[in-house]
C-alpha cells in the first residue's frame, strides 16, 4: 500500500514540476524581440506569463485568446491611438495587471472599449489605469470576472462618452475598489446576475454614477456616488442589496440620488443620502425594505409614487430635508415605522423614546407644490409655515395613510 501511495505522489510531483517547467515567462521590451504584446501572445502558450516592461506600445485591438497572465512592469502604456480597441480578452483564466490603457476609438455603430472581455470566464483585471477610452472596461457574455482597484477616467465629452465599467449578460462579476469618473455611466449593468459591486467610487460622470437594468440578485455595498450629473438609476431588477453606499451632492433639476423603477424585493439599508435634490425616487416598486438610512439636507428625501406597494420604511433618520416625503396620490400599504424625523414636534410622556402622537411626513405645502408647482415661490414664507402647523394638528388634505405611528424622539446612530 505504502509503495502505491509513493508512486502516486511521485507521479503527481513529477507532473507539477514538469508543468512548471513548461510555463515560461516572456518579456516584452521595446527594441528587442518580442516588440509588442501581440507578438508575445502569438509566441505564448496557455499558462504562460507575459511581462511587459515600461514603455509606450501601440495596441490596435490586441486579442488575448490564450490563458495568460499579463503583467505590466512600471506601468507600460498600451495606446490604441484612436484607431480601434486597446485590448480584447476572449480566453478564460486570464489575468491583466499594471497597465495604462488609453485612447480607444469612439464610434456610433460599435462600442469600442479600453478593455473588452468577451465570452470568457475567470478573468481578473487588477490595478490598471484606463484613460480617455470610449468605454472603459466592457464585460459581455462572461462569468466570474473580477475587476479590482482600477482607475477609469473617460473623455468627459458629452457626445462621445461611453460607460466606465459595463457588464452585459454576465454573471458572478465582482467589481471592487475602482474609481470611475468622466464617463457616461460610471458603472452599468444589464442582464447581469449574482454580482457584487463593492468599495467603488463613481464621481462626476456625465449621466448616472451607477445604472443597472434587468439585473437580479446583485449587491452594491460601500460605494460612493457623488456629483454625477443624473445621480444613480436602477430599474427593472429584483432582489437587490444596496447597503452602506453614499449618495452625495447629486444636485439639480430632475437629478436623483437614487432613482428606483420597478425594483422588487430589495433591501436598501445603511446608506447615506446627503445634499441630493431628490434622495430616493420610487416608481412601481414593491415589497422593498428601506431601513437604517440617513437622509440629510436633501431637497426631497423620499418621493414615492402611488403605484408603489408594500414598501417598509423603518429606522431611518430624516434631518434637515426641505421635504421629507412627497407623493402624487395616496400611499396604500406602504409602512413607515420607528423613523426619526427632525420635524416631529410631538411628546413622549412615558419616556420610552417613541413619540406618543403619530407623525405625518407629507406636509401640506408638499401637497400644494404637487398640485401647483408655481407655489414654490412661497417656500419658507410665514403663511406656509402656519398652514403646515395647522395641517399637522388637524389633517385634511394630506394623505391619512402616510404616517409613522412610532416616531423616534432621538436620531438613530447610523
Amino acid at each position: 500500500m505504502y509503495l502505491l501511495r509513493y508512486i502516486i505522489y511521485f507521479t503527481l510531483s513529477f507532473f507539477i514540476v514538469f508543468g512548471n517547467a513548461q510555463a515560461k515567462t516572456i518579456v516584452v521590451k521595446s527594441g528587442a524581440k518580442p516588440q509588442s504584446l501581440k507578438e508575445a501572445i502569438a509566441m505564448a502558450q496557455n499558462g504562460d506569463t507575459i511581462v511587459v516592461q515600461k514603455g509606450i506600445y501601440a495596441s490596435h485591438n490586441t486579442v488575448v485568446n490564450k490563458s495568460l497572465t499579463i503583467l505590466g512592469k512600471n506601468r507600460p502604456v498600451l495606446d490604441a491611438q484612436f484607431k480601434d480597441e486597446v485590448l480584447t480578452v476572449t480566453a478564460s483564466n486570464v489575468k491583466i495587471e499594471g497597465f495604462l490603457l488609453r485612447n480607444s476609438k469612439t464610434g456610433d455603430l460599435r462600442d469600442y472599449a479600453g478593455l473588452r472581455i468577451f465570452g470568457a470566464s475567470n478573468v481578473h483585471v487588477n490595478d490598471n489605469i484606463l484613460e480617455n477610452n470610449f468605454f472603459g472596461i466592457y464585460i459581455s457574455d462572461s462569468h466570474r470576472v473580477s475587476v479590482t482597484n482600477n482607475k477609469v477616467t473617460g473623455n468627459n465629452n458629452r457626445r462621445q462618452a461611453g460607460n466606465g465599467i459595463q457588464a452585459w449578460k454576465s454573471d458572478h462579476i465582482t467589481i471592487t475598489g475602482n474609481q470611475v469618473t468622466a464617463h457616461r455611466d460610471g458603472i452599468y449593468f444589464e442582464f447581469v446576475q449574482n454580482s457584487h459591486i463593492k468599495d467603488n467610487s463613481s464621481e462626476k460622470n456625465l449621466r448616472y454614477g451607477l445604472h443597472f437594468m434587468f439585473s437580479n440578485d446583485n449587491s452594491y455595498i460601500h460605494n460612493q456616488f457623488k456629483n454625477n450629473q443624473a445621480g444613480v438609476a436602477v430599474m427593472y431588477s429584483k432582489r437587490i442589496k444596496m447597503q452602506y453606499n453614499q449618495f452625495n451632492e447629486n444636485w439639480g433639476s430632475s437629478i436623483y440620488g437614487l432613482l428606483l423603477k420597478e425594483i422588487l424585493d430589495s433591501q436598501i439599508a445603511h446608506n447615506t443620502f446627503y445634499k441630493n435634490t431628490s434622495a430616493i425616487f420610487m416608481e412601481s416598486c414593491n415589497r422593498n425594505k428601506i431601513y437604517s438610512n440617513s437622509f440629510s439636507n436633501n431637497g426631497l428625501a423620499l418621493r414615492v409614487l402611488s403605484n408603489c406597494q408594500d414598501n417598509n420604511f423603518t429606522l431611518n433618520n430624516f434631518k434637515g430635508n426641505t421635504f421629507d416625503v412627497t407623493t402624487n396620490g395616496d400611499l396604500l400599504e406602504n409602512h413607515f415605522a420607528h423613523n426619526y424625523w427632525d420635524k416631529y414636534e410631538g411628546y413622549d410622556l412615558n419616556k420610552d423614546g417613541i413619540g406618543d402622537v403619530p407623525f405625518r411626513p407629507v406636509s401640506l405645502y408638499a401637497q400644494i407644490m404637487e398640485r401647483i408647482p408655481q407655489s414654490v415661490i412661497l417656500m419658507r414664507s410665514f403663511i406656509v409655515n402656519l398652514l403646515d402647523k395647522v395641517e399637522r394638528s388637524i389633517p385634511s388634505i394630506t394623505p391619512l395613510s402616510v404616517k409613522d405611528d412610532s416616531p423616534q424622539m432621538k436620531p438613530w446612530k447610523i
Binding site: S253, R380, S381
Partner: protein, 255 residues
Amino acid sequence: MFKIAKYIALDIIKSKVVMAYTLLLMAICISVFLTDADVTKGLVSITTIMLIIVPLVSVVYATTYYFNAAEFTELLVSQPISRKNILLGKYIGISSSILSAFLIGVGVPVLLFAFGSTGIILILTGSLLTLCFISLAFLASVAMRDKAKGIGLALMIWFYCSIIFDGLVLVFLYALSDYPLEKVLIAITAFNPIDLARILVLLQLDIAALMGYTGALFQDFFGSGFGIVFSFGLLMVWFVVPLIISLRVFRKKDL
C-alpha cells in the same frame, strides 16, 4: 437735519428699547449658530426669524416713536426749519439706530459664523427690509392723526406683508392654476418687500427644493445678476417711494 437726527438717535439709545432689540437678535443668532452644526441650516433659520421680527419691530417702533415725539415735532415746526428737513432728520435718526441694532444683532454673528456671499446677502436684505418698513411706518404715521390709529395701520401693513399677501398669492394660484403663471408671479412678488427679501436669500440657500420647470425658471430669473439687481432695486423702491410720499403729505399736513 443732521442735528435733529443726532438728537433723536441719542434719545433712542437712551431709551434701551433698541438695546433690548439688539440683544434679542444677537441671542437668537448666536443660539441658532451654536446649536446647529450646519451653517447653511442656521442661515435658513435666521432668515425665517428675521423675516418676521425685523419688519415687525421696525414698523411698530418707528410709528410709536413718531407719535411719542409729536410735541417735539410741533416745537421744531415753530422753528425756522423746513418740514422736509424735520421729517428727514427724524427718519435718519430712527433708521440709523434701528439699522445699527440690526447690524450688530444679526450682522456681527452672521459675519463671524457664516462669512460668505450668502451671509452678506442676508445682511443686505435685512438692512433694506429695515429701511423699507421704517419708511412704511412714516407713511402710516403721517397719514393718521391719532396714535392708536397710526400704530394700528402700521401693524396692518406688517400683517398684510407677512401673511395676507402670501395667502392671497396662494388663493390666486389655486384659482388660476391652469394658466402659465410663472412670469406673473415674478411680477407679483414685486408688490411685497418681505417676499422679495425671502426669495433673494432663499435662492442663495436651498436651491434643492426649487425643482422642476418652475423652480428652474425662478432661479433663472432671480438667481441671475439681473434678477438680484432687480430685487435689490425693488427693495430700494419700497424704501424710497413711501418716504417721498410721506414727505409730501407731511409738508402740507395740518399738525
